[in-house]
Symmetry: C2
Subunit: 204 residues, 2 copies
Protein backbone atom coordinates (compact mmCIF):
# COMPACT_ATOMS: atom_id res chain seq x y z
CA UNK A 1 0.00 0.00 0.00
CA UNK A 2 1.71 3.11 -1.23
CA UNK A 3 1.83 5.87 1.35
CA UNK A 4 1.27 8.39 -1.42
CA UNK A 5 -1.95 6.86 -2.61
CA UNK A 6 -4.04 7.88 0.33
CA UNK A 7 -5.51 10.75 -1.61
CA UNK A 8 -6.93 10.06 -5.02
CA UNK A 9 -5.60 12.14 -7.92
CA UNK A 10 -8.89 14.00 -8.12
CA UNK A 11 -8.51 15.32 -4.62
CA UNK A 12 -4.81 15.90 -4.97
CA UNK A 13 -5.50 18.01 -8.02
CA UNK A 14 -7.60 20.49 -6.07
CA UNK A 15 -5.09 20.81 -3.24
CA UNK A 16 -4.09 24.44 -2.76
CA UNK A 17 -0.69 25.17 -1.38
CA UNK A 18 -0.11 28.05 0.94
CA UNK A 19 2.91 29.51 2.70
CA UNK A 20 2.81 30.49 6.36
CA UNK A 21 5.21 32.69 8.24
CA UNK A 22 6.33 31.56 11.65
CA UNK A 23 3.67 32.37 14.22
CA UNK A 24 0.93 32.57 11.63
CA UNK A 25 -2.46 31.10 12.48
CA UNK A 26 -3.84 28.51 10.11
CA UNK A 27 -7.19 28.18 11.84
CA UNK A 28 -8.76 28.80 15.21
CA UNK A 29 -10.96 26.77 17.51
CA UNK A 30 -14.63 27.33 16.80
CA UNK A 31 -14.22 28.12 13.12
CA UNK A 32 -15.96 25.99 10.55
CA UNK A 33 -13.54 23.43 9.08
CA UNK A 34 -12.65 24.06 5.47
CA UNK A 35 -10.77 20.86 4.82
CA UNK A 36 -7.79 18.71 5.46
CA UNK A 37 -4.30 20.15 5.70
CA UNK A 38 -1.11 18.45 4.75
CA UNK A 39 2.11 19.92 6.07
CA UNK A 40 4.60 20.14 3.22
CA UNK A 41 7.43 21.72 5.15
CA UNK A 42 8.00 23.37 8.49
CA UNK A 43 5.98 22.71 11.61
CA UNK A 44 2.40 23.40 12.59
CA UNK A 45 1.16 23.00 16.13
CA UNK A 46 -2.35 22.23 17.23
CA UNK A 47 -3.00 23.85 20.56
CA UNK A 48 -5.47 25.01 23.09
CA UNK A 49 -4.95 28.33 24.74
CA UNK A 50 -6.39 29.28 28.09
CA UNK A 51 -7.40 32.69 29.28
CA UNK A 52 -3.96 33.34 30.76
CA UNK A 53 -2.40 32.62 27.38
CA UNK A 54 -0.90 29.30 28.41
CA UNK A 55 -0.79 26.85 25.59
CA UNK A 56 -1.41 23.15 25.64
CA UNK A 57 0.04 21.46 22.61
CA UNK A 58 -2.22 18.73 21.31
CA UNK A 59 -0.08 17.74 18.40
CA UNK A 60 2.97 18.93 16.60
CA UNK A 61 2.79 18.26 12.87
CA UNK A 62 5.91 18.09 10.76
CA UNK A 63 6.49 17.71 7.05
CA UNK A 64 4.38 14.87 5.69
CA UNK A 65 1.84 14.91 8.49
CA UNK A 66 -1.77 15.79 8.02
CA UNK A 67 -3.88 17.67 10.49
CA UNK A 68 -7.54 18.24 11.11
CA UNK A 69 -8.69 14.84 9.88
CA UNK A 70 -11.17 14.68 12.71
CA UNK A 71 -12.44 18.16 11.91
CA UNK A 72 -13.66 16.85 8.57
CA UNK A 73 -16.42 15.19 10.53
CA UNK A 74 -17.30 17.93 12.94
CA UNK A 75 -18.87 21.37 12.75
CA UNK A 76 -15.93 23.29 14.13
CA UNK A 77 -12.27 23.07 14.88
CA UNK A 78 -11.61 22.11 18.47
CA UNK A 79 -8.21 23.80 18.68
CA UNK A 80 -5.94 26.37 17.09
CA UNK A 81 -3.36 25.59 14.44
CA UNK A 82 -0.30 27.77 14.39
CA UNK A 83 2.86 27.55 12.34
CA UNK A 84 5.80 27.52 14.72
CA UNK A 85 8.30 27.76 11.88
CA UNK A 86 7.93 29.11 8.38
CA UNK A 87 5.78 26.44 6.79
CA UNK A 88 4.01 25.39 3.66
CA UNK A 89 0.72 23.58 3.88
CA UNK A 90 -1.63 22.15 1.31
CA UNK A 91 -5.36 22.41 1.79
CA UNK A 92 -7.73 19.78 0.44
CA UNK A 93 -11.21 21.27 0.60
CA UNK A 94 -13.77 19.31 2.54
CA UNK A 95 -16.33 19.47 -0.25
CA UNK A 96 -13.95 18.05 -2.80
CA UNK A 97 -12.96 15.26 -0.44
CA UNK A 98 -16.48 14.14 0.30
CA UNK A 99 -17.60 14.55 -3.28
CA UNK A 100 -14.80 12.24 -4.26
CA UNK A 101 -15.63 9.77 -1.51
CA UNK A 102 -19.20 9.61 -2.74
CA UNK A 103 -18.36 9.05 -6.37
CA UNK A 104 -15.34 6.89 -5.80
CA UNK A 105 -15.62 4.30 -3.02
CA UNK A 106 -12.00 3.31 -3.51
CA UNK A 107 -10.91 6.77 -2.51
CA UNK A 108 -12.93 6.50 0.67
CA UNK A 109 -11.43 3.13 1.32
CA UNK A 110 -7.90 4.35 0.74
CA UNK A 111 -8.43 7.20 3.14
CA UNK A 112 -9.86 4.85 5.74
CA UNK A 113 -6.90 2.56 5.28
CA UNK A 114 -4.55 5.44 5.80
CA UNK A 115 -6.30 6.52 8.96
CA UNK A 116 -6.21 2.96 10.26
CA UNK A 117 -2.52 2.64 9.45
CA UNK A 118 -1.68 5.89 11.08
CA UNK A 119 -3.64 4.91 14.13
CA UNK A 120 -1.74 1.69 14.43
CA UNK A 121 1.56 3.41 13.91
CA UNK A 122 0.95 6.02 16.55
CA UNK A 123 -0.38 3.42 18.99
CA UNK A 124 2.84 1.50 18.56
CA UNK A 125 4.79 4.65 19.17
CA UNK A 126 2.80 5.31 22.32
CA UNK A 127 3.34 1.77 23.51
CA UNK A 128 7.05 2.33 23.10
CA UNK A 129 6.88 5.29 25.44
CA UNK A 130 5.72 2.96 28.19
CA UNK A 131 9.18 1.45 28.16
CA UNK A 132 11.32 3.36 30.61
CA UNK A 133 14.77 2.10 29.76
CA UNK A 134 16.42 3.93 26.88
CA UNK A 135 18.04 0.76 25.65
CA UNK A 136 14.83 -1.21 25.58
CA UNK A 137 13.06 1.64 23.91
CA UNK A 138 15.64 1.54 21.14
CA UNK A 139 15.29 -2.22 20.93
CA UNK A 140 11.56 -1.81 20.54
CA UNK A 141 12.11 0.73 17.80
CA UNK A 142 14.50 -1.60 16.01
CA UNK A 143 12.14 -4.54 16.33
CA UNK A 144 9.29 -2.56 14.85
CA UNK A 145 11.28 -0.86 12.11
CA UNK A 146 13.53 -3.68 11.03
CA UNK A 147 13.57 -4.47 7.34
CA UNK A 148 12.37 -7.65 5.68
CA UNK A 149 15.70 -9.35 6.32
CA UNK A 150 15.14 -9.08 10.05
CA UNK A 151 18.44 -7.42 10.79
CA UNK A 152 18.70 -4.10 8.99
CA UNK A 153 17.12 -0.92 10.29
CA UNK A 154 17.19 2.09 8.02
CA UNK A 155 17.67 5.39 9.77
CA UNK A 156 15.81 7.95 7.75
CA UNK A 157 16.80 11.17 9.50
CA UNK A 158 19.41 12.29 11.96
CA UNK A 159 20.06 10.71 15.32
CA UNK A 160 18.63 13.79 16.94
CA UNK A 161 15.37 13.21 15.13
CA UNK A 162 15.40 9.61 16.23
CA UNK A 163 15.94 10.77 19.79
CA UNK A 164 13.01 13.15 19.57
CA UNK A 165 10.88 10.38 18.14
CA UNK A 166 11.78 8.12 21.03
CA UNK A 167 11.23 10.83 23.60
CA UNK A 168 14.85 10.77 24.73
CA UNK A 169 17.63 13.32 24.65
CA UNK A 170 20.09 12.91 21.82
CA UNK A 171 22.93 12.47 24.28
CA UNK A 172 21.28 9.44 25.82
CA UNK A 173 20.65 7.95 22.40
CA UNK A 174 24.28 8.41 21.36
CA UNK A 175 25.49 6.85 24.56
CA UNK A 176 23.06 3.98 24.41
CA UNK A 177 23.92 3.24 20.79
CA UNK A 178 27.61 3.30 21.72
CA UNK A 179 26.98 0.82 24.50
CA UNK A 180 24.99 -1.44 22.23
CA UNK A 181 27.84 -1.40 19.74
CA UNK A 182 30.32 -2.16 22.51
CA UNK A 183 28.15 -5.08 23.61
CA UNK A 184 28.09 -6.36 20.01
CA UNK A 185 24.36 -6.06 19.95
CA UNK A 186 24.36 -3.83 16.89
CA UNK A 187 26.67 -2.41 14.26
CA UNK A 188 26.32 1.13 13.03
CA UNK A 189 26.66 2.25 9.45
CA UNK A 190 26.08 5.46 7.60
CA UNK A 191 22.32 5.34 7.38
CA UNK A 192 21.48 2.05 8.97
CA UNK A 193 21.82 -0.17 11.96
CA UNK A 194 22.59 -3.85 11.66
CA UNK A 195 21.31 -6.10 14.41
CA UNK A 196 23.81 -8.75 15.37
CA UNK A 197 23.28 -12.47 15.62
CA UNK A 198 21.16 -13.28 18.64
CA UNK A 199 19.54 -9.90 18.47
CA UNK A 200 18.07 -10.21 15.03
CA UNK A 201 14.37 -10.05 14.71
CA UNK A 202 12.65 -12.86 12.91
CA UNK A 203 9.23 -11.90 11.83
CA UNK A 204 7.20 -15.05 11.82
Amino acid sequence: MNERDWLSPNIRAVGRERALKAGRTLFRAGQRPVGLYEVISGRVRLLRVDRAGRETVLYSANAGDTIAEASLFSKSYHCDAIATTPARVRLYPKDAIFAEFNSNPDAARAFMARLANQLMEVRTRLQRRNIHSARERLQHYFAVNVGADGRTVRLAGTVKELAADLGLTHEVVYRTLARMVADREIKRFKNEIRLMRGHMIMII
Copy 2:
Protein backbone atom coordinates in the same frame (compact mmCIF):
# COMPACT_ATOMS: atom_id res chain seq x y z
CA MET B 1 -20.96 12.46 18.06
CA ASN B 2 -21.87 9.44 20.12
CA GLU B 3 -18.97 7.13 20.81
CA ARG B 4 -21.31 4.18 20.52
CA ASP B 5 -22.45 5.03 17.02
CA TRP B 6 -19.27 4.16 15.25
CA LEU B 7 -20.70 0.85 14.13
CA SER B 8 -24.07 0.83 12.51
CA PRO B 9 -26.75 -1.44 14.00
CA ASN B 10 -26.45 -3.77 11.02
CA ILE B 11 -22.84 -4.49 11.73
CA ARG B 12 -23.32 -4.58 15.46
CA ALA B 13 -26.02 -7.20 14.96
CA VAL B 14 -23.61 -9.62 13.33
CA GLY B 15 -20.93 -9.19 15.98
CA ARG B 16 -20.01 -12.52 17.53
CA GLU B 17 -18.77 -12.56 21.05
CA ARG B 18 -16.11 -14.96 22.14
CA ALA B 19 -14.35 -15.70 25.42
CA LEU B 20 -10.60 -16.13 25.61
CA LYS B 21 -8.59 -17.69 28.40
CA ALA B 22 -5.44 -15.93 29.48
CA GLY B 23 -2.61 -16.70 27.09
CA ARG B 24 -4.96 -17.66 24.30
CA THR B 25 -4.13 -16.56 20.76
CA LEU B 26 -6.74 -14.57 18.91
CA PHE B 27 -4.86 -14.45 15.63
CA ARG B 28 -1.35 -14.77 14.30
CA ALA B 29 0.78 -12.75 11.94
CA GLY B 30 0.39 -13.89 8.37
CA GLN B 31 -3.15 -15.17 8.73
CA ARG B 32 -5.89 -13.72 6.60
CA PRO B 33 -7.84 -11.09 8.53
CA VAL B 34 -11.38 -12.12 9.36
CA GLY B 35 -12.57 -8.81 10.72
CA LEU B 36 -12.45 -6.21 13.38
CA TYR B 37 -12.24 -7.10 17.05
CA GLU B 38 -13.64 -5.13 19.91
CA VAL B 39 -12.31 -5.93 23.36
CA ILE B 40 -15.26 -6.23 25.73
CA SER B 41 -13.32 -7.10 28.86
CA GLY B 42 -9.83 -8.15 29.81
CA ARG B 43 -6.72 -7.33 27.85
CA VAL B 44 -5.42 -8.34 24.45
CA ARG B 45 -1.90 -7.60 23.31
CA LEU B 46 -0.68 -7.17 19.78
CA LEU B 47 2.87 -8.34 19.51
CA ARG B 48 5.69 -9.44 17.35
CA VAL B 49 7.77 -12.37 18.42
CA ASP B 50 11.33 -12.95 17.33
CA ARG B 51 13.07 -16.26 16.88
CA ALA B 52 14.36 -16.22 20.43
CA GLY B 53 10.82 -15.82 21.72
CA ARG B 54 11.26 -12.22 22.76
CA GLU B 55 8.11 -10.22 22.37
CA THR B 56 7.69 -6.68 21.20
CA VAL B 57 4.37 -5.27 22.25
CA LEU B 58 2.84 -3.10 19.56
CA TYR B 59 -0.32 -2.27 21.41
CA SER B 60 -2.11 -3.30 24.53
CA ALA B 61 -5.88 -3.19 24.09
CA ASN B 62 -8.18 -2.93 27.07
CA ALA B 63 -11.93 -3.03 27.43
CA GLY B 64 -13.55 -0.74 24.88
CA ASP B 65 -10.62 -0.70 22.49
CA THR B 66 -10.72 -2.14 19.02
CA ILE B 67 -7.89 -3.91 17.32
CA ALA B 68 -6.95 -4.86 13.80
CA GLU B 69 -8.60 -1.90 12.11
CA ALA B 70 -5.65 -1.66 9.76
CA SER B 71 -5.87 -5.34 8.97
CA LEU B 72 -9.27 -4.74 7.45
CA PHE B 73 -7.39 -3.21 4.56
CA SER B 74 -4.56 -5.65 4.19
CA LYS B 75 -4.16 -9.25 3.13
CA SER B 76 -2.72 -10.54 6.37
CA TYR B 77 -2.26 -9.70 10.00
CA HIS B 78 1.10 -8.13 10.67
CA CYS B 79 1.36 -9.28 14.27
CA ASP B 80 0.00 -11.74 16.82
CA ALA B 81 -2.90 -11.00 19.13
CA ILE B 82 -2.84 -12.73 22.49
CA ALA B 83 -5.11 -12.38 25.49
CA THR B 84 -2.95 -11.59 28.49
CA THR B 85 -5.88 -11.89 30.89
CA PRO B 86 -9.13 -13.78 30.56
CA ALA B 87 -10.93 -11.70 28.00
CA ARG B 88 -14.06 -11.38 25.96
CA VAL B 89 -13.89 -10.04 22.44
CA ARG B 90 -16.47 -9.33 19.80
CA LEU B 91 -15.73 -10.03 16.17
CA TYR B 92 -17.28 -7.98 13.38
CA PRO B 93 -16.66 -9.89 10.15
CA LYS B 94 -14.85 -8.04 7.43
CA ASP B 95 -17.43 -8.97 4.80
CA ALA B 96 -20.30 -7.63 6.83
CA ILE B 97 -18.43 -4.41 7.52
CA PHE B 98 -17.62 -3.67 3.92
CA ALA B 99 -21.04 -4.76 2.70
CA GLU B 100 -22.52 -2.26 5.10
CA PHE B 101 -20.09 0.45 4.04
CA ASN B 102 -21.09 -0.07 0.42
CA SER B 103 -24.79 0.04 1.00
CA ASN B 104 -24.74 2.67 3.70
CA PRO B 105 -22.34 5.58 3.17
CA ASP B 106 -23.21 6.98 6.59
CA ALA B 107 -21.79 3.87 8.22
CA ALA B 108 -18.55 4.33 6.33
CA ARG B 109 -18.49 7.95 7.33
CA ALA B 110 -19.12 7.15 10.97
CA PHE B 111 -16.30 4.65 10.97
CA MET B 112 -13.98 7.13 9.33
CA ALA B 113 -14.93 9.72 11.88
CA ARG B 114 -14.18 7.32 14.67
CA LEU B 115 -10.79 6.47 13.24
CA ALA B 116 -9.99 10.16 12.86
CA ASN B 117 -11.08 10.88 16.42
CA GLN B 118 -9.07 8.05 17.81
CA LEU B 119 -6.06 9.18 15.85
CA MET B 120 -6.34 12.65 17.26
CA GLU B 121 -6.82 11.36 20.77
CA VAL B 122 -3.81 9.10 20.68
CA ARG B 123 -1.68 11.81 19.07
CA THR B 124 -2.57 14.08 21.95
CA ARG B 125 -1.66 11.35 24.37
CA LEU B 126 1.66 10.89 22.62
CA GLN B 127 2.30 14.60 22.67
CA ARG B 128 1.77 14.53 26.41
CA ARG B 129 4.50 11.95 26.78
CA ASN B 130 6.96 14.46 25.41
CA ILE B 131 6.51 16.41 28.59
CA HIS B 132 9.06 15.21 31.09
CA SER B 133 7.85 16.78 34.28
CA ALA B 134 5.18 14.77 36.06
CA ARG B 135 3.42 17.91 37.17
CA GLU B 136 3.26 19.40 33.71
CA ARG B 137 2.12 16.11 32.31
CA LEU B 138 -0.78 16.16 34.73
CA GLN B 139 -1.51 19.76 33.84
CA HIS B 140 -1.61 18.81 30.20
CA TYR B 141 -4.00 15.98 31.00
CA PHE B 142 -6.23 18.33 32.96
CA ALA B 143 -6.18 20.94 30.21
CA VAL B 144 -7.21 18.38 27.62
CA ASN B 145 -9.79 16.58 29.74
CA VAL B 146 -11.37 19.49 31.52
CA GLY B 147 -15.15 19.75 31.30
CA ALA B 148 -17.16 22.46 29.59
CA ASP B 149 -16.95 24.67 32.68
CA GLY B 150 -13.20 24.87 32.29
CA ARG B 151 -12.42 23.79 35.82
CA THR B 152 -13.75 20.32 36.51
CA VAL B 153 -11.93 17.18 35.43
CA ARG B 154 -13.78 13.91 35.84
CA LEU B 155 -11.60 11.01 36.88
CA ALA B 156 -13.13 7.92 35.32
CA GLY B 157 -11.01 5.17 36.82
CA THR B 158 -8.57 4.79 39.67
CA VAL B 159 -5.51 6.91 40.21
CA LYS B 160 -3.41 3.92 39.27
CA GLU B 161 -5.09 3.81 35.89
CA LEU B 162 -4.49 7.50 35.46
CA ALA B 163 -0.84 6.96 36.29
CA ALA B 164 -0.55 4.19 33.71
CA ASP B 165 -2.23 6.43 31.17
CA LEU B 166 0.27 9.17 31.86
CA GLY B 167 3.22 6.81 31.79
CA LEU B 168 4.10 7.54 35.40
CA THR B 169 4.22 5.40 38.51
CA HIS B 170 1.21 5.73 40.77
CA GLU B 171 3.42 6.89 43.62
CA VAL B 172 4.61 9.87 41.63
CA VAL B 173 1.06 10.75 40.66
CA TYR B 174 -0.10 10.63 44.29
CA ARG B 175 2.78 12.80 45.37
CA THR B 176 2.36 15.25 42.55
CA LEU B 177 -1.38 15.56 43.16
CA ALA B 178 -0.66 16.12 46.85
CA ARG B 179 1.78 18.88 45.99
CA MET B 180 -0.68 20.51 43.60
CA VAL B 181 -3.29 20.49 46.35
CA ALA B 182 -0.79 21.99 48.80
CA ASP B 183 -0.01 24.72 46.27
CA ARG B 184 -3.74 25.42 45.89
CA GLU B 185 -3.55 24.62 42.23
CA ILE B 186 -6.27 21.99 42.43
CA LYS B 187 -8.79 20.52 44.83
CA ARG B 188 -9.48 16.82 44.94
CA PHE B 189 -12.90 15.26 45.29
CA LYS B 190 -14.25 11.77 45.11
CA ASN B 191 -14.25 11.34 41.36
CA GLU B 192 -13.11 14.67 40.13
CA ILE B 193 -10.46 17.33 40.25
CA ARG B 194 -11.31 21.00 40.49
CA LEU B 195 -8.84 23.44 38.99
CA MET B 196 -8.41 26.50 41.13
CA ARG B 197 -8.66 30.11 40.10
CA GLY B 198 -5.68 31.07 37.99
CA HIS B 199 -5.26 27.52 36.85
CA MET B 200 -8.63 27.13 35.23
CA ILE B 201 -8.68 26.41 31.57
CA MET B 202 -10.78 28.66 29.39
CA ILE B 203 -11.52 27.07 26.10
CA ILE B 204 -11.87 29.90 23.64
